[in-house]
């Protein structure tokens, strides 16, 4: 009975979303306050019913209700309870439900924390979010019902995709979705601004904390996904330019551009149309990501379901939402180039350059991701572009961004003096060159590693110089407002990230070896001794587990246990063993036995020493933290009166915050 209740809850939620999507927009258009007032209760009601449906699906998993097709497909009696909860979003139907629930979380948060917004504006924002929710709820109800029954009920279910049975995976999709879906708020704000016309100047300020928070979640989700790919897939890489990774990376890149463009628009009134366009792009790319994963248009390790009917539905939905927004943009985007003019040497200029680089990078990733499809369409045969394409173009596009990064905070809005910048240039150059020379002795003159040290010092020292400048010049308590602290954290994170990427890529040592028990292999300063393989088992898998002892200078520093797990349906999953460290990771993945009938014999093993690889994710976490801290600035929560004042021109020469 409960699954039917869940389905009913979804239908009710869809109807409420319809009310939330239609009535407040009409109300805002006709000036009808009663209709506008529908927005909040409808949003709250929808959230309650979606949460109820979600809860019922969790319950069905926890109680092994295999009469529900989705539960039977994705769980079994042996699956531990925490993976049964994660299984709720482990496949198509449930992950769509999670998508909607997270959209509801954002909508309710927005309704709760937006008392300062003008009534009409809020009605429009919630209305737009309602329309998005209608699209997804109708998608679930009509094409992807998670509560569909399976009769007769099987005694036991299938299994959750073993790739997903990892602690990192329980948490990666919800966080990633928080980011994806969070861009819907910035999107709704800009659509509401387009609908409302040029009357509302303050909307960018209100949109900023939401954009920053969404971007922070997206960063966290991507970091978690990258970390999981590293730990779980056994390939030792941290980024593969896989279509689904790209799908999350494109909104991230546009999100970076959006965060900076919003700062310009809010502070200076310029780039208004561009900011609106970027808000539309960021959310469109999130939707596109969903489309690419769900429609089976592109095949990827991640793609769970490929069903042309679903693909067509999402395509129609995309066409309506994105096409409609862009049409609205074409008709209503601010006509005049508003805002303060800026000189070539100004903070605006560098932000515009960085914006272009990030947008072009996102377009480059989109082109590369869609290339197989373009190849089919133009009858060029099966082609796909891989890491060589991305790996060449992406750093090239990011190089100007990295070079400009230290100067951004030092530049002033409007017009900047050259002298202070020269001193910054001198200092970061000296620091970067000095560190690069020292590093050259440690890395055997490897160009990429030296470049990594130099680039990281360039960004890191540049950021710290600004921290020092604020410390010296500003009175206590006003040195680092949250918005600026967030910016500095994120910029510092770029430096940390660069250390991780360039050093781990250039200095990593990989060995594919055949080892019999007792054999040793030396990788850098470490000696790996293979102590054989024995069988072991977990709650729902059995595995061959290798024992590898790592020695340094004759002393044992770790005993590692890489596994090769076999799950009930026969899927094989490697669990690599990692010995983590600040300056290096040691990583062992178990390959195949040399003789399938002699497990106690020799095995193929893959051994890695990866210097500084952890800094990649540390850098990402700094960026995430930056997004959250900046979004938490009190200034964004100021009442409407304050917003009006801020919309007034700021004196060009006045030092203002990032």
């Amino acid at each position: 009975m409960t699954p039917e209740l869940g389905q009913l809850a979804l239908i009710l939620a869809m109807l409420l979303a319809l009310a939330q999507g239609v009535l407040p927009l009409i109300g805002a258009w006709r000036g009808n306050r009663a209709l506008m007032a529908v927005a909040r209760p409808a949003a709250a009601g929808q959230a309650v019913f979606v949460a109820l449906a979600f809860g019922l699906l969790v319950w069905a998993f926890l109680t092994f209700d295999f009469s529900v097709q989705y539960v039977a497909d994705n769980s079994n009696l042996a699956l531990p309870w925490y993976y049964r909860i994660a299984a709720v979003w482990g496949a198509h139907e449930g992950s769509m439900l999670l998508w909607v629930m997270i959209l509801n979380v954002w909508t309710v948060a927005l309704a709760a924390f937006s008392r300062q917004l003008p009534e009409e504006f809020l009605a429009r924002v919630l209305g737009v979010l309602g329309i998005v929710a209608v699209g997804f709820l109708a998608f679930i109800v009509f094409t992807s019902n998670p509560f569909a029954r399976l009769l007769p009920m099987p005694p036991d279910g299938g299994d959750l995709n073993p790739v997903l049975q990892d602690p990192g995976m329980t948490f990666h999709p919800p966080v990633l979705y928080m980011g994806y879906v969070g861009f819907s708020v910035a999107f709704a704000f800009s659509i509401a601004a387009l609908l409302g016309g040029a009357l509302e100047q303050g909307w960018v300020r209100w949109a900023r904390p939401w954009t920053n928070a969404a971007w922070g979640f997206l960063t966290c989700g991507i970091v978690a996904g990258s970390w999981w790919a590293y730990a779980e897939l056994g390939w030792g890489g941290w980024w593969f330019w896989d279509p689904v990774e790209n799908a999350s990376f494109m909104p991230w890149l546009v999100g970076v551009a959006l965060i900076h463009a919003q700062a310009v628009t809010e502070k200076r009134g310029s780039l208004r149309a561009w900011t609106i366009l970027l808000s539309i792009f960021a959310f469109s790319l999130s939707l596109l990501g969903t489309f690419l994963v769900r429609s089976g248009v592109l095949t990827s390790v991640h793609a769970f379901a490929s069903d042309p009917r679903r693909g067509l539905y999402i395509l129609a939905f995309l066409a309506i939402v994105i096409g409609g927004s862009l049409l609205l943009y074409a008709l209503r985007a601010p006509k005049v180039a508003g805002g303060k003019a800026f000189a070539p040497l100004s903070r605006e200029t560098v932000i515009v350059i960085a914006n272009l680089m990030f947008t072009v990078a996102a377009a480059m990733v989109l082109l590369g991701t869609l290339f197989p499809l373009i190849g089919d369409a133009l009858h060029l045969g099966k082609i796909s572009v891989g890491p060589p394409y991305f790996g060449f173009l992406f750093p090239l596009l990011m190089l100007p961004v990295v070079l400009l990064l230290p100067f951004g905070p030092f530049l002033r809005w409007g017009k900047s003096e050259a002298a202070p910048l020269k001193s910054v240039l001198l200092r970061v150059t000296i620091a970067a060159v000095a560190c690069a020379i020292v590093a050259a002795f440690f890395v055997d003159g490897q160009a990429k590693a030296i470049a990594g040290v130099a680039a990281a010092v360039w960004c890191g020292v540049g950021t710290l110089l600004y921290v020092y400048k604020r410390w010296r010049e500003m009175p206590r308590g006003r040195r680092y407002p949250a918005e600026m602290a967030g910016m500095l954290l994120a910029h510092f994170g770029v430096g940390v990230f660069l250390v991780g990427v360039l050093l781990s890529e250039s200095l990593s040592v990989t060995r594919d070896v055949r080892m019999a028990p007792g054999d040793t292999q030396t990788v850098g300063a470490y000696t790996f001794r293979f102590d054989g393989v024995h069988a072991t088992r977990g709650p729902n898998w059995h595995a061959e587990q290798g024992t590898v002892t790592v020695l340094r200078d004759g002393k044992t520093i770790d005993v590692m246990h890489p596994q090769k797990r076999t799950y009930p349906r026969g899927q094989v999953q490697t669990e690599s063993a990692i010995d983590p460290g600040v300056t290096r990771d040691l990583y062992v993945a178990l390959g195949e036995p040399m003789d399938p009938n002699k497990l106690e014999g020799a095995w193929a093993l893959r051994l890695y020493a990866k210097p500084f690889v952890r800094w990649i994710w540390a850098g990402g976490l700094f960026m995430m933290l930056g997004g959250f801290v900046a979004g938490a600035d009190k200034r964004f929560r100021a009442r409407r009166a304050a917003a009006k004042v801020a919309a007034e021109p700021v004196l060009p020469a006045k030092e203002s915050r990032a």
Binding site: I280, V297, T299, L318, L326, A330, A333, L373
Partner: protein, 180 residues
């Protein structure tokens, strides 16, 4: 006009995606077409595994269709495929030629001795040069070659009874009708 550019770009994308959905309903996205299908098989001349003094060449095989199955003793998936070939190999009605790929002859012989030998003959390509001409991705992989020496069918990965029943057997029946 410039404000309509994003919309126009997006409509092109929608067209591309619509095409993608349509295309996928007609094609298996996993298929990797072999450029060699319908083309003459590359010239080859390889020694027999059991008798390296004798060689088998494309010319010597002309006149009747045959199935070439690329395998190796080091290949795990070949072990999965092996029982299928043992069971079905004799029922195909065409010679089954084992193609031992990048393998030490002793290892291959030991492997066949242990698991059984489903092949009518086994040719050995220890350096793997000829496999490049055939466009071999990895083992196992199989090529059906007709009486005129043309590659008619290629299967990547292990054969399963279903694939043999659904794809291979109808094609063999057709080749037999074509053959003089």
């Amino acid at each position: 006009m410039s404000r309509s550019l994003p919309l126009i770009g997006f409509l092109l994308l929608v067209g591309l995606f619509g095409f993608g959905i349509w295309w996928n309903t007609r094609h298996d996205p996993r298929e990797v077409p072999s450029p060699l299908i319908g083309k003459p098989a590359p010239e080859f001349s390889l020694p027999l595994l059991d008798d390296p003094g004798k060689t088998v060449s494309k010319t010597s095989m002309l006149g009747k269709p045959y199935l070439v199955n690329v395998f190796a003793s080091w290949c795990i998936a070949c072990g999965e495929e092996h029982p299928v070939l043992m069971a079905e190999g004799r029922t195909l009605g065409v010679p089954l030629v084992g193609y031992d790929y990048k393998d030490a002859p002793e290892d291959a012989k030991a492997w066949l001795a242990r698991h059984g030998n489903p092949y009518d003959m086994v040719i050995a390509d220890q350096p793997g040069r000829t496999a490049i001409d055939f466009g071999v991705y990895g083992a196992p992989e199989s090529f059906l070659i007709d009486a005129k020496g043309t590659i008619r069918y290629k299967h990547i990965g292990p054969f399963t009874p279903e694939v043999i029943e659904r794809e291979l057997k109808p094609l063999i029946a057709q080749l037999k009708q074509e053959a003089p």
